[in-house]
């Protein structure tokens, strides 16, 4: 049980880092392509 907590914390940290890279990659695409347009979508 105790070991499980330690493993969970480590996996959680890796998951957060992966999320950071996902958002960074999307941001890079958006910034380079100016995907955020001024068109109103409904």
């Amino acid at each position: 049980m105790a070991k499980l907590l330690y493993i969970l914390v480590t996996i959680g940290a890796l998951f957060i880092i992966a999320s950071g890279f996902w958002v960074a990659l999307t941001l890079a695409k958006v910034v380079s392509s100016k995907k955020i347009t001024s068109k109103q979508k409904s």
């Binding site: 070991k3 957060i16 880092i17 999320s19 996902w22 958002v23 999307t26 941001l27 910034v31 955020i36």
Partner: protein, 478 residues
């Protein structure tokens, strides 16, 4: 040498952030300023939501809580995760589906009437200014630690820089810089945790588990069940759909993106709280003297990382603050323009009003930062008023077929009043009648929501009676 590398790291970070902010471009019309053209993709909605809620409270504050009370606050944080997931599944798609809706006040105005929208706008602007003051205080604390400048000038710099790009680019600049800041802190802070666990924690997992167990036991014995219930309520309801979150729900590309963004942000928060608390727990066996809750993270990083890494992490912590601050400034300005000013100005130049409001709210936040005692208590104080003031009216309004304006108006007025009055009464009791150190806001939230719900039912019932009488009069006159 250390100073040179630190300055180089900080300089590089500022250059990239400035580039990203400039690429967001200045908003040319109000719909860009308020909703970024309603075209945000999932990753940006998720990253921006997470960057907004991960402010100083959920980073510096949670590390301090982990240091003092171990994993007790993870249980409380789970209430927050649940709230985000429920909002994603039940509320965000309904909000996004509303047409011509820029703010929560707009949503309330569409469901009730104009008076309710103005009241919702006043509450939204007040909340955004209050939370922005907490962020300004936290940003000032960190910048003072880096530069040694006086606190007031550190606050001023953080607020001025944030206000600058938010005033120009509106929500689009806020979301784009949030995404950059999210990437920075979500890579670097967990990396710092892994480095501490692997290289600095003597005894490895056994020490970590021992410290976690001791701290959690201490936390449980220091916190009464009523405080735990109050904190659970505050984390479950207090931050629900505050204006910056609602703006992101409204600005999503589609209703599906809106729903998934909130659900993902909720799941992310579970791992985030776990990581921050783990940093606090690990710090117990590294930091000898108790530095005070808000300084645990800074002290830990200072004592375990090389100077350049410490400098980078400090900049990242300022990013944590700025990403929340910019969202609050923008949401407050949009609420002021759309919900309040448009009722009183005949031909409003919405974009100029929005920009001016951003600057005014930023100035109020900088001045108000002096009054904030600790980050967590400041956040709890704001949540306590928000939940009873807005949530019953908003959520019931989105779900029932014909919400009555009187019900919404009464619920918002009574909810706000009850929260403030109960708070004053409890403060007097714990100060003079039964002196003890206790967080008052969490104790207020449930009874104040109860009062708001009763007021809603009364208002609804009064209008129903009026409508029936009117019908009877009409049928008699025929």
């Amino acid at each position: 040498m250390h100073t040179v590398s630190s300055v180089a790291v900080i300089g590089a970070y500022v250059v990239v952030l400035t580039y990203v902010a400039l690429r967001a471009r200045a908003a040319r019309e109000f719909s860009e300023f308020s909703l970024a053209g309603r075209a945000l993709p999932l990753a940006l909605v998720f990253g921006s939501l997470a960057a907004t809620y991960v402010g100083p409270g959920y980073s510096i504050g949670f590390v301090g809580k982990g240091f003092r009370s171990g994993f007790l606050f993870l249980g409380i944080g789970l209430a927050y995760a649940l709230q985000n997931i429920l909002v994603g599944l039940l509320v965000a798609p309904r909000l996004r589906a509303l047409k011509d809706c820029h703010t929560l006040g707009d949503a309330i105005g569409q469901k009730y009437d104009r008076k309710c929208q103005i009241l919702a706008g006043i509450i939204s602007v007040g909340l955004c200014a209050g939370l922005a003051a907490v962020m300004a205080k936290a940003g000032g604390d960190i910048l003072r630690d880096i530069t040694g400048l006086p606190h007031w000038s550190s606050v001023l710099i953080v607020v001025a820089v944030t206000a600058l790009y938010t005033t120009s680019g509106g929500l689009r600049a806020s979301v784009v810089t949030d995404a950059f800041q999210f990437s920075a802190f979500s890579i670097l802070l967990p990396a710092a945790l892994l480095i501490v666990l692997v290289f600095h924690l003597k005894g490895g997992s056994a020490t970590f588990i021992e410290q976690a167990s001791t701290a959690t036991t201490e936390g449980l014995s220091d916190t009464s069940p009523i405080e735990v219930i109050g904190l659970l309520a505050a984390f479950l309801l207090g931050e629900t759909l505050i204006p910056p979150y609602a703006n992101r729900a409204l600005a999503s590309e589609t209703t599906r993106v809106s729903r998934n963004g909130f659900v993902l942000a909720g799941l992310f928060s579970i791992f985030w709280f776990m990581a921050m608390i783990a940093l606090g727990v690990a710090a117990r066996s590294i930091i000898v003297e108790d530095p005070g809750e808000d300084l645990v993270l800074l002290t830990l990083v200072k004592s375990t990382m090389p100077p350049a890494c410490y400098a980078l992490l400090l900049v990242v912590l300022i990013s944590v603050v700025m990403s929340s601050l910019d969202s609050l400034l923008n949401a407050g300005a949009v609420a002021f323009t759309q919900d309040i000013a448009s009722s009183f100005v005949k031909t409003p130049d919405a974009l100029s009003i929005g920009r001016t409001a951003t600057i005014v709210i930023a100035a109020v936040a900088a001045v108000g930062a002096v009054a904030v005692q600790t980050i967590i208590s400041g956040l709890l104080a704001c949540y306590t008023v928000w939940a009873p003031a807005i949530l019953p009216t908003l959520i019931i309004g989105l779900w029932i077929v014909r919400p009555r304006p009187l019900a919404g108006f009464l619920s918002m007025s009574v909810g706000t009043g009850a929260a403030i009055v109960l708070w004053i009464i409890l403060w007097l009791i714990f100060k003079y009648g039964w002196p003890r150190e206790i967080e008052i806001p969490p104790l207020v939230i449930i009874p104040a929501i109860g009062a708001a719900l009763v007021a809603y039912i009364v208002g609804h019932w009064i209008e129903l009676i009026k409508e029936r009488k009117k019908l009877e009069t009409n049928s008699n006159s025929r």
